[in-house]
Subunit: 140 residues, 2 copies
Amino acid sequence: MGEHQLEHFIRSGGLKVTPQRLMLLREIEAQGHLDVDELFRRAQAHFPSISLATIYKNLHTLSENGILREVPLPGKRSVYELHHAEHVHFFCTECNKVCDVEADMSDIADMLRERTGYQFDTMRVTLGGPCPGPDKCMRE
Amino acid sequence: MGEHQLEHFIRSGGLKVTPQRLMLLREIEAQGHLDVDELFRRAQAHFPSISLATIYKNLHTLSENGILREVPLPGKRSVYELHHAEHVHFFCTECNKVCDVEADMSDIADMLRERTGYQFDTMRVTLGGPCPGPDKCMRE
DNA sequence: ATCACTGCAAAGGGTTTGCAAGTTC
DNA sequence: GAACTTGCAAACCCTTTGCAGTGAT
């Protein structure tokens, strides 16, 4: 995603464009999914004096404004991703990493709407198990 | 679920059947989904001197043994349910309650297996939005 | 100039741990 | 009686909050 587009997303929520925010978003974009700690470690490489509080505040603010999305995981801390189209997450029970799965979900969302009678706004699908290997996920 | 069956589940994991465990499972069964706090409050009605540590330890032990299942939620604490067949959760963004949705998921699991090429063990589907009302969920 | 954001330090909660006493099998 | 579980208290996080200084618009 381009610099301009990121800045536009931030501004459209009434938020200010700070170097810290841009860096956080770029790290998350590059890694796909990061939790608070990993993000803090990476952030320190760019801003040695950055505070954990800044990470927390931004994770909240950016999630509330629909720029980030929290992905809650069983027994682990949530990870955060750039908010994009509905998709499936695969959570590897061996390497504890999360990856996006390429799969069109719109028809599944429709099926669920029909079957359940619920008018939901969001749908989170997380598959769990040992991931197939480096080619499919990130396991070595 | 009968008393005998609950006890059997506990024992089959190599765990011991204690009055506290039976009570926790019955409360969860009765309420459907409970988080640590609600469970603790309810537990105190039965065992006034029960400790929060006991709740935490049992939630972990019973989840590891497949008797309970953790349902992680965005921005909230996880809730726990009795482990049963794959199903859909609806998380109401207004009343913050979780309910099970009646929907056969086996074909959706198959579809996802085909489309993604992943051999997953678990599937968690959580829909979010305002729930339709008392008849469908628990909102008043 | 205003309002928002950062970084720090402290406060506040939530969760885990160690251990002695009590239970289960 | 051996092994596990409970309850307590302390320790140990993790996360939030308040505030003064800085930065964005």
